[in-house]
Amino acid sequence: MAIWDILYDLLFEPRNAMRKVAEVKNAGQAVLIALISIFIPIFAVSFAIKDTSITTLVHIMIGVKIVASLLVWMIGSAIWNLIAEFFGGKGTALGLFAGLGFAHFPRIFIVPLWALAALMPESIQSLLMVISVLLILCWSVTLDVIAIKEIHQLSTAKAILVMMTPLLVLGLLCFITFIFISSSLINMPMWI
């Protein structure tokens, strides 16, 4: 299946795109698109903020971004696939991996949006950059949810729940840990 068909559908008919990805499971193309969508915006961001005084922060951001994106994608695919199966999903891990890879594609639009922001007056440049990042983030998350929904044939609510479950579990674990730590501090032996 031609990659530009998928990319076009991804932008304008994301549900169709994800259904096709579920059928074809074109992981190779997904890896290519994901890598391009991760690296090109990172370089664009580094150009945009390189001439500030926070050069250390730029290097750290780039490193964290690359590692985090790849880890979340790969490990996330496995975890979300497992959770989706618990909720009655019928898809495959490879299909979800491919779908989530393609869902990275909107991030590449950071480049023209930041280029546009760079042309604006300095007073609103930073604000426009932040807004564009938030918009792209929302778009990406929406595509992730659509990927889970179409590949595992779940409802939208279940797909969102599948997406949120790791965060909810993490939150619950932090809460329980906090309670245990607080309890142990309260019950420390008192010397009489």
């Binding site: 150009f47 001439d51 005084s53 480049v111 023209p112």
Partner: protein
């Protein structure tokens, strides 16, 4: 075919944007090779050491200011430095360290100009006196040429709450400035000698930096504060103006023609970078009060409050 065309157009758009961003950075790099004026900020109470630094921000500690001065000195494109001072003073040693670095920078051929903000008093004025030229606003608070060592006697309070504190010391003056007992006259004399020594060094800095007569400086150096206006009339300040006047003055002294390129030193937090917010919280007065409570403002030995030695009777 249509879908392919759309994706090709989008790809071209992204490619052009990418190249545009890269070249925008190159243009900025070309500009950065031109002659620059560095702005280094001295804000808050002047204390020595590293302060609190993390990836996102730096707070306090003259080590950072000295580091920035070194960077500006080593940058051949920086022809002048504007020291933007907004400080009520602080540690004499820390002020002296920065002052010596300013003198080294001037010896290296760079122009250093002070721009006083709200307050540039005491240690802040020490630094300003080491620079080529001083700009202040007419309502800036400056002066306070003098030295003090704070001392508090908490003996009566300790008695009231039933705390008895004792020190087992190796020498008779080891617990000098101790808050749990009155200061002896001999101790007072020792501290006074120290204060006078530091004071004489402060006066010498002002005499040398401002090229004023020592007798004249000592008349003004009774610790009083002056407005920028008064300071100009008395010769403690050169010009009245804001930071941009100081920048223009620095450019003129350094022989930079046209609008100077500015390079600011110091980390910016991501928040202030994105939204231009000033992360400085609290007024200078609050910082002075907080740092006094932490004994960070003293010039001599700090009063010691060792709570683990408290003994309740």
């Amino acid at each position: 075919m249509y879908k392919k065309s759309v994706i090709i157009v989008i790809s071209l758009l992204i490619l052009v944007s990418f190249v545009g961003l890269a070249f925008r950075n190159n243009d900025k790099q070309k500009v950065t090779q031109s002659e620059k004026i560095a702005i280094i900020y001295v804000e808050g109470v002047i204390v020595g050491g590293r302060g609190q630094n993390n990836v996102f921000s730096e707070q306090g500690g003259t080590d950072q200011v000295i580091k920035q001065l070194h960077e500006a000195r080593d940058d051949s494109s920086v022809k002048a430095v504007v020291l933007r001072i907004n400080s009520p003073g602080g540690s004499a040693a820390a002020s002296q360290e920065v002052g010596e670095e300013i003198k080294k920078m001037r010896l290296a051929g760079k122009v250093v100009v002070t721009s006083m903000a709200d307050v540039a008093a005491s240690g802040g004025y020490w630094l300003a006196a080491c620079t080529d030229k001083i700009y202040a606003n007419s309502t800036t608070m400056t002066g306070s040429i003098g030295v003090y060592v704070p001392y508090a006697n908490w003996e009566e309070l300790y008695k009231k709450v039933g705390i008895y504190q004792e020190k087992i010391k190796s020498g008779v003056h080891k617990d000098i400035l101790s808050p749990e007992r009155p200061m002896t006259s001999e101790e007072r004399a020792i501290i006074q000698v120290m204060v006078d020594d530091i004071y004489n060094q402060f006066v010498a800095v002002v005499v040398e930096g401002r090229k004023m007569d020592e007798i004249e400086v000592r008349k003004l150096a009774d610790g009083r504060i002056f407005t920028g206006n008064q300071a100009k009339q008395l010769g403690l300040v050169d010009e009245l103006g804001n930071m941009y006047d100081a920048i223009d003055g620095a450019a003129a002294l350094a022989g930079i023609s046209g609008k100077p390129v500015i390079k600011e030193y110091g980390k910016q937090s991501p928040w202030s970078m994105l939204f231009g917010a000033n992360g400085q919280a609290g007024s200078l007065l609050e910082q002075v009060i907080i740092n006094q409570a932490k004994n960070a403002l003293n010039i001599g030995a700090p009063t010691e409050l060792a709570t683990d030695k408290w003994q309740v009777r």
